[in-house]
Amino acid sequence: MGKITGFLEYKRQDESYQSPKERIKNYKEFTIPLEEDKLKDQGARCMDCGIPFCHGGCPLGNLIPDFNDKVYKGKWKEAAEILHRTNNFPEFTGRLCPAPCEEACVLGINEDPVSIENIEKNIVETAFEEGWITANPPKLRTEKTVAVIGSGPAGLAAAQQLNRAGHTVTVFERDEKVGGLLRYGIPDFKMEKTVIDRRVKVLEEEGITFTTNAHVGENVDANKLKDEFDAIVLCGGATVRRSIPIPGADLKGVTQAMDFLKLNNQCVDGLVAFEAIISAENKNVIVIGGGDTGSDCIGTSNRHGAKSVTNFEILSKPTEGRPANQPWPYWPMRLKTTSSHQEGVERFFSISTKEFIGDNNGNLKGLKTVEVEWIFKEGERPQLKEIPNTEKEWDCELALLALGFTGAEKTLAEQFGLDMDFRTNIQASTKDYATNVPGVFAAGDMRRGQSLIVWAISEGRQAAHYVDAYLMGESHLPLKDDSDLPRV
């Protein structure tokens, strides 16, 4: 398989980007794909390991060496087939996944890892281009009906899998369009929404019904659903946002990142007027939270034409290389510089926001911070300590809170009578994804708490298997094993 000496001959090459100056002019994706020959060379770098750690590091268990080999050989169609065996939506993960696979790549021990994610994206894009991705409805329908609540990656994956098993699936989405965080959280410059639309179209053609503006618990009665459907899969996400309980948090201009991003995405989609968005134009923007959402806020702010963009992260600055206590093949916490960062931001670490300062009209005009340090003691949770005399004030008219999510909303749990765990996730184990209520299952962020898209798809697939087994007594839907690499 593969080219035996490929990794010795070729260097890693990723797709390139339009220059920041160019790309911030609009909300389009700005990647410049590699030519096919170059991609094949990248595929050839895969060493076809006896133990493909990438495959273990991928929460979906993507058959990475297998599709890399096909790419190397130019067999794109077969590559696409292999890719879709484990991944319903590689066009999402190929754009958005932080690629734990690449961190686990054996070549990564002492070289640049194989550019797995980019290969993945190219496989699926080629497949769409060539028209290979078409509806493949089940041959026979069972008499069973399933409701999937939430149309994020977990819900979509569960729906497609269950539909394949022949069940009649209805997806309920509270927003006006399908996609969940994919649609409303991810800016278009990272993934244009046509990517979701073309996939949803296939799902519809396969026979899945999508009911939008259907907020279960609000405008759809949960108990009625229970009566109407033989099984229910909850994929509503972890949507409760973390806030920051400091003085001034209610000032105008202190904004949740998700509000900021959602409106912007809706605007790009033509669903809301330009005036309705929260604009960063000509503002000093401070994004609090150094994660991916924070990064998306930075990119969006720059596109708005912000005066300045600053980013705070309370944790200390990670190293660029792998930290010693997170050795290969584990997923390391290291300094990530995203394309949005490249577009212009000042980043500060070990910094804690103490107060938002407003003007007389209740508008945000600045904020106060203090530098912090973390105290690590064996066997104890790390402690945060403020460093005396490091207080500082910042000009700021727009503070975007990208602090993550604390769990699922309680509505569904209450309506269905479900147990929640201490982190306010719906309680269900990965053994069967079943909640305490028979016939009701949970998957994705709603079950595991906020996580990656790749995990959401994985959960949706796994849950589908158990739902199918619950309905039919046995299931032939594929199941991955439990050999995920743990976090250290």
Partner: protein, 1499 residues
């Protein structure tokens, strides 16, 4: 005989023997011949072993002419003339009443056959000489004298009647349930010869049988035999000679031969016997040795009117198939006979006699030594060694040897030696065999496809692939490379997946069977380099009466490669132009939805249908699993094939048909091997044909037409099967077919007995129901309702994939292990070991099924410290070459730091590593390996060892050799291996000096002589019978026996071997422990275990099962950075371990401390377990199986049937019998001739003074020079002494391994001759073998040295004034040798040095020769046809430098030996020079050019 118990099965006993004969050509009878014959045996005693009591011999005997004169005197009744009566010693029950009963029955049968009982004579014996065991089984011996019915009765008629009478009496008595019925035995019953034998030592034969002392008793001939069994408690009747033969070697194909003899008897008819034939059969009595069985068949064939030589030619044919120089008549004879009898194959030197002829045959590969001497007084002496009877040089007429496949025959009546050619041509001309073949035998290739291919209408290929369990790996890793390249796929590292019974995934039934392989008691073969002795063609059709010799026998269909294509099968199906062939197809499908008994019912139906088809005249039956659909699942083809094979046996119809399997199941070599092994005669893997077609369409297979790709695939399978056969030492598929050389692991006895009878299965497991469940699982998956999303599985058998087959090393275990050793964190190691141990418990391994029991806790501090425990730890044998210098030295340093042992592997070692560095680290590998390639094995290398390991087999590929391709042999590696850079190196499958247990004993003696301080370790691989082999090895004086699991790693292996040969070590260690304890041999031996040992728990279980030392290989490599790439064979290891690429080597990040930490962690975990169980030391713990229990918690539909009690069986032995090593072997080195030399050459040794000595020598003086060289190496290292410092003239016949490892400064001359292994591992000495001056023989016509000369020699010179035997200069890499003629396989695997051959050259010269130069005097221009010339340049001597080199060597030869031939050549140089050919391997030529270029560049 010992009873079956625990894991021990008595049928896996082996024996090896000393045999010989002496006869008088002049017909002169004497009593002296008997004494000389017995002297032969005494002189061969070193070829045997002593059992634990040391008194009871394993059996010996002598066959002589009937001493008519003697009987005339000593019988108290009248005797007819000589030849007019038959006589035999008869073994009878001890108890009077039972004895009378037997006598009565025998007498009745004699009368029934119309013969006359003349009388009985009590044989005077002296029971006082018997050992205890022999005494308990000693029979009462009487002689019976039987006369002809009447005077006119012909000799043949008389013999037939005698045969019938004896056979019927035997059957009657053995069936009688008499308590002492087994005492009854008639050693011979002949008008010509009589046999005296028993459980005796050779020197006691004539003390026991008092008659033999009597000078009135005389004979013209005497055939003697002494038996050495591995550990049998032997019986009187199995002592040899038998009635017509005796045998030194092993018949590997026995099981197939026996089963096919039984089917032949179904249709056996003979007018002389009439209805009695039913009482005479079965010919073969159960429970006898291979030799006894062969003898019974020889006897039967003699009764059919065939002569003894003809019979031997039939049973042990020479390799005729690929011999271009054999006469057509002879070929026709062999081909004809191959239609009715498969070869009885295996190493065999078989002396035989019927009183008229005495002679011997040697197996087709010449695997046993047989030397003979003709004296001027007319005696012929033949035996395994020369020099066994004292003959003055001037009395010798001729020295000869028996050649592979050849017959040596003395016509006693004509008083002359009949040469092989004469006797065989005469026999071959008795019938028009060629005509018969031409008229009757149909070749598949000649059948035309007249109707065109049959079209098949079947469901979607993918679905069928799922039904038959295909994976992407099957398609891409197995099938595709075979179709594309015609070669078997290669992999590396070991198998770490569960065995079939422990796998949670549905397994094909093939995976429950493990291939058997040869180790020690017989050699595996090299079917690649010695292809000319192999053959995979088969003939199909109905057998006819064995008693007839007529054209009917060859009315058969011959298939050259019985792995056939769909098109071939179509041709056979359609073949109707010959009324002799009646072909019937029977479906192997069953209705899958009809309930649980359906499979069983379907199997019965299959038999009924086949039986009916036979009754209706079918002679070829095709079993087919085509047309599976929603309702029809396939019966596993192997199950169907085996069951039908046996059921037809039972119905006595087996001989009427041949079976062809048309199945989608078989895809890899192992599958085909099993089908043939269980009775198939041809196989068409039709789905593979379709898959290949698809792969061509999808361009996965490129540049090939469909038929060519299929042919490639079939060829690859054919080659693979050959390899599987070769592993167990079988060279023809004809004798492999039906031989069932497999062990079943994981199927219960009831199922095996019914469907795979006579296959060992020891730990039980699944039955038919579970087999069916696995079929249903696959079938269901294929036909599930919504199949839109169904893909064939990825596989994950060879490379880890999630959700597929489990692997013990997976991302998490590797990550945890590496993290723990790098951070030295015990808690992380604990996480690792828990992952592994829990994996074990979740059914990965047999040890996973155990739990510790009977706790008796003690404080941890009381357990011996980890520093003591790690001294028992070793790292695995990995050569520098297979892994990088950095990785190799890393292991050595680590193990030396903790006092454990690292292993050099088979690749030599740079001598700079032998000495400690100034920083205190030591790169020396404590264990030096001696493997079949002998790379870098010199006196100095052996001297640097504290343990020397003889690798008989390795877990990843037992029974196979290896190859280091030229490009990998960089100058550094070449240096440590004493070879030429860029010249490929081959490790042959066998050690060419170990074809049997006595050979191993010799090699142990050789290497022990080369380093007396080192322990000698013999590495075996777990398989059924390994206990017996281990007992044999213990008797052969090994100090350590390593039993390795099948799952050990390797740098390269065919995937079939990685998975399907060998057993888990749990079985091997337990069996070895049980058998050694049973024989009270355990105390002499250190028992070591390796094979995927990973944690302290693994070690604890190995210890409780019997091991006391432990080897780790993969785990310390992982600790050093290995991430199980499994690309060791590709040189691309990305972490710098299994690579020689300098760039990649830089990536090696392992440190000795990582390995040390690993060993420490394992030892600590072990100590914790010891503390829990209550053991303070390892010694206390060894073999305490009661501390293990089956883990009750495990419930799994397959594994629940496993029965581990045989593994946990504790042998009931007398108190005080030791379960672990307590004493050292006595190697008996005191009598070694070298000590005499050392004593006399003191000045030379210590002061380098030139010394000259003169010493007598006999064949008992073995490995002469090895000890002296060891002493020299100790002082002077590899430099040795200055040239010709110690000069010795020896007079007589030198024993085996003369000059073994002899180093620089020694110059030995033998005036006489030498035996096998001259100059083994020669390390710089000069050896001269010359004809004594008194002798009148013509040197170049006579054999002066034996087989396997200069095996693995690295330097030195050898001058041989006469001919050498087989495999001259095998694997020579540096010595220069001149010889005056050689046998077959000359210069095999040679990689360097020069061989000058001034005379005859045998077949297959230069096979695998990759380096060095040979100059051959090709007087009759016949040399080229004897060459395996594919990769050789054979040219006249063109360059002056070559001519000068040649001339100089011949001059040296003349100087050393005064060879008349050399003198003639030198005198007439201009005439002779053009007759010489220079043999230069192409690879060597290229390498020399490259080196020259490199030198220029650096200059």
């Amino acid at each position: 005989m010992l009873k079956k118990q625990g894991l021990y099965l008595p049928e896996f006993e082996h024996d090896n023997c000393g045999a010989g004969f002496i006869c008088s050509l002049t017909g002169k009878r004497s009593n002296d011949i008997i004494h000389k014959a017995l002297e032969i045996l005494v002189k061969l005693e070193h070829r045997g072993a002593v059992s634990s009591d040391g008194v009871t011999g394993d059996g010996a005997g002598i066959l002589i002419d009937i001493p008519h004169k003697f009987f005339k005197i000593f019988c108290d009744f009248e005797l007819p003339e000589a030849g007019e009566y038959a006589v035999s010693n008869v073994f009878l029950p001890k108890k009077d009443n039972q004895r009378d009963y037997c006598i009565n029955i025998f007498e009745t049968e004699i009368k029934n056959q119309g013969l006359k009982l003349i009388g009985w004579r009590d044989v005077p014996v002296n029971s006082g000489v018997l050992g205890e065991i022999a005494k308990t089984t000693e029979p009462f011996v009487r002689q019976v004298f039987i006369g002809k019915s009447d005077e006119s009765q012909s000799e043949r008629a008389f013999n037939l009647k005698l045969f019938a009478a004896r056979k019927i009496a035997e059957h009657t008595i053995y069936d009688s349930k008499l308590s002492e019925s087994q005492f009854f035995y008639v050693p011979s019953l002949s008008t010509k010869i009589i046999i005296f034998k028993g459980l005796l030592k050779p020197e006691h034969i004539n003390e026991y049988y008092l008659d033999l002392f009597n000078s009135a008793l005389d004979t013209r001939l005497a055939l003697v035999h002494q038996r050495f069994s591995t550990n049998t408690f032997p019986t009187w009747d199995l002592a040899q000679p038998f009635r017509y033969i005796c045998h030194n070697g092993e018949i590997n194909t026995l099981r197939g031969n026996v089963s096919r003899m039984f089917s032949r008897e179904e249709i056996m008819k003979c007018d002389a016997f009439g209805d009695d034939i039913k009482k005479i059969i079965p010919t073969i009595l159960k429970g006898k040795s291979d030799s006894a069985t062969l003898d019974m068949v020889v006897e039967l064939l003699l009764m059919s009117g065939r002569s003894l030589p003809e019979t031997m030619m039939m049973l042990v044919p020479e390799a005729w198939e690929k011999n271009p120089s054999m006469s057509d008549a002879k070929k026709a004879f062999y081909e004809y006979n191959s239609c009715l009898m498969e070869p009885w194959d295996g190493p065999a030197s078989i002396p035989f006699t019927d009183g008229n002829f005495i002679g011997a045959v040697l197996d087709r590969n010449g695997l046993r030594p047989s030397r003979y001497t003709v004296t001027k007084k007319g005696n012929v002496i033949m035996s395994s060694e020369t020099g066994v009877v004292d003959i003055k040089p001037e009395d010798v007429e001729f020295h000869g040897r028996l050649e592979p496949g050849k017959m040596f025959l003395v016509d006693m009546n004509e008083g002359r030696i009949v040469n092989d050619e004469e006797i065989k041509e005469e026999i071959a001309s008795r019938h028009p065999y060629r005509e018969w073949l031409d008229d009757n035998l149909i070749h598949l290739r000649d059948i035309s496809a007249k109707k065109g291919p049959i079209l098949y209408d079947e469901i979607d290929l993918k679905k069928r692939e799922i039904v038959f369990g295909y994976t992407e790996e099957d398609l891409n890793t197995i099938i595709r490379p075979m179709a594309q390249l015609g070669k078997e796929p290669i992999g590396s590292m070991g198998s770490d997946t569960p065995i079939a019974i422990l796998s949670e995934r549905p397994q094909l039934i093939y995976n429950y069977f493990k291939q058997l392989f040869a180790q020690v008691t017989n050699p595996p073969l090299d079917g690649i380099r010695e292809e000319l002795i192999t053959d995979i063609s088969l003939t199909l059709g109905c057998d006819v009466n064995l008693f007839d010799i007529n054209p009917e026998h060859c009315k058969k269909l011959k298939i050259q490669n019985p792995v056939i294509s769909k098109h071939d099968l179509d041709k056979i199906r359609n073949y109707d132009s010959n009324p002799d062939f009646n072909i019937e197809s029977i479906s192997m499908l069953y209705e899958v939805n009809r309930g649980l008994n359906e499979l069983e019912v379907a199997l019965e139906n299959l038999v009924t249908k086949a039986s009916k088809a036979i009754d209706e005249g079918a002679n070829i039956i095709i079993l087919s699993d085509r047309y599976v659909d929603e309702n029809h699942a396939p019966i596993p083809a192997l199950l169907a094939c085996s069951y039908l094979n046996h059921a037809l046996h039972k119905l006595k119809k087996r001989s009427k048909i041949s079976l062809i399997i048309e199945s989608a199941e078989p895809r890899e070599v192992h599958h085909f091997a099993l089908l043939f092994g269980f009775g198939a005669s041809a196989v068409n893997p039709y789905i593979v044909n379709e898959i290949v077609q698809e792969q061509i369409n999808s361009k996965d297979v490129t540049d090939l037409e469909y038929l060519a790709a299929i042919k490639n695939y079939n060829k690859a399978v054919g080659k693979g099967i050959l390899k599987v056969m070769n592993k167990i030492g079988i060279s023809t598929l004809n004798s492999y077919r039906g031989s069932q050389l497999f062990e079943c692991v994981g199927i219960n006895t009831a199922t095996v007995e019914k469907y795979f009878p006579n296959t060992p299965t020891r730990i039980q497991g699944i039955g038919l129901r579970e087999i069916e469940q696995e079929i249903v699982k696959r079938h269901k998956k294929a036909f599930q309702v919504n199949d839109t999303n169904v893909d064939i599985e990825v596989g994950g058998e060879y490379r880890w994939r999630r959700g597929q087959e489990k692997h013990m090393f997976n991302p998490l275990t590797v990550a945890k292990l590496q993290e723990s050793v790098r951070t030295n964190k015990a808690s992380t190691f604990k996480e690792y070991s828990e992952l592994i141990n829990n994996q074990s418990e979740s059914l990965m391994t047999i040890r996973g099924l155990f739990e510790f029991d009977q706790f008796d806790p003690i404080p941890l501090e009381e357990v011996e410290p980890w520093t003591a425990i790690v001294k028992r730890f070793k790292t695995g044998a990995m050569s520098y070459g297979s892994i990088s210098k950095e990785a190799h030295e890393n292991l050595a340093i680590a193990m030396n730091r903790i006092g454990g042992k690292s292993n050099s592997g088979e690749g030599g070692e740079d001598q700079e590593r032998f000495y400690k560095s100034s920083q205190g680290d030591w790169k020396n590998s404590a264990i030096k390996q001696v493997a079949s390639g002998r790379f870098g094995v010199t006196s100095n290398y052996l001297t640097s060892a504290s343990e020397i390991q003889i690798k008989i087999a390795q877990g990843a590929k037992p029974g196979e050799g290896g190859q280091l391709p030229g490009p990998k042999v960089n100058p550094e590696i070449a240096k440590t291996r004493n070879s030429t850079p860029y010249v490929g190196l081959i490790s042959p499958p066998p050690h060419h000096d170990i074809y049997s247990i006595e050979d191993l004993s010799q090699l142990i003696y050789d290497v022990k002589s080369a380093n007396r301080e080192a322990r000698i370790n013999v590495k075996l691989v777990s398989e059924i019978g390994v206990g017996t082999v281990a007992a044999g090895v213990a008797k052969a004086k090994a100090d350590v026996i390593l039993v390795a699991g099948f799952d050990g790693g390797t740098g390269a292996t065919p995937l079939t071997s990685q998975k399907h040969a060998g057993l888990p070590w749990e079985l091997g260690i337990a069996e070895a422990q049980q058998t050694l304890v049973m024989n009270d041999l355990r105390n002499r031996i250190v028992l070591e275990c390796d094979g995927q040992l990973k944690t302290g728990r693994d070690v604890a279980i190995a210890c409780l099962l019997g091991a006391e030392e432990f080897g780790f290989a993969t785990a310390p490599l992982v600790a050093s950075g290995c991430i199980m790439m499994r690309v060791c064979h590709l040189n691309t290891c990305p972490v710098g371990i299994a690579t020689q690429n300098p760039e990649l080597r830089k990536k090696f990040k392992g440190k000795p401390e990582h390995v040390v930490n690993y060993m420490y962690f394992v030892a600590q975990e072990l100590r914790e377990i010891m503390a829990k169980l209550g053991f303070r030391t390892i010694n206390e713990m060894v073999g305490q199986v009661q501390k293990l229990n089956r883990n009750k918690a495990i419930e799994h539909y397959k594994a629940s049937g496993i029965d581990l009690t045989p593994i946990l069986h504790k042998i009931d032995v007398p108190a005080g019998t030791k379960l672990y090593n307590t004493e050292q072997q006595d190697h008996n080195l005191e009598a070694h001739l070298d000590f005499k030399i050392i004593k006399q050459a003191h000045q030379a040794l210590f002061r380098r003074q030139k010394t000259h000595l003169e010493l007598p020598i006999t064949n008992v003086d073995r490995a002469v020079g090895a000890i002296v060289s060891n002493e020299i190496s100790k002082i002077y290292g590899a430099d040795g002494l200055p040239e010709e410092t110690i000069n010795i003239d020896f007079n007589g016949s030198a024993g085996q391994s003369f000059g073994a490892f002899a180093t620089k400064g020694l110059s030995f001359t033998v005036h006489g001759n030498t035996n096998d292994y001259l100059g083994k591992g020669l390390s710089g000495a000069k050896l001269i073998i010359k004809v004594p001056v008194e002798s009148t023989i013509v040197p170049e016509d006579n054999i002066i040295t034996g087989n396997v000369t200069l095996y693995g020699a690295t330097a030195g010179e050898v001058y041989i004034n006469g001919k050498a035997g087989e495999r001259f200069c095998v694997r020579n890499s540096g010595a220069k040798a001149v010889v005056e003629g050689i046998g077959d396989h000359g210069c095999e695997y040679m990689t360097g040095g020069i061989a000058v051959i001034l005379g005859e050259v045998g077949r297959n010269f230069g096979a695998g020769m990759s380096g060095g130069i040979a100059y051959v005097l090709d007087s009759d221009d016949a040399f080229k046809q004897n060459c395996n010339s594919a990769d050789l340049n054979i040219d006249p001597i063109e360059f002056e430098a070559d001519a000068n080199q040649l001339r100089q060597l011949i001059e040296s030869h003349y100087m050393a030996t005064t060879s008349p031939l050399a003198k003639r050549i030198l005198a007439d140089w201009e005439v002779y020079l053009p007759k010489f050919k220079k043999v230069l391997p192409e690879e060597y030529r290229q390498a020399l050019l490259r080196l020259e270029k490199e030198q220029l560049e650096t200059a």
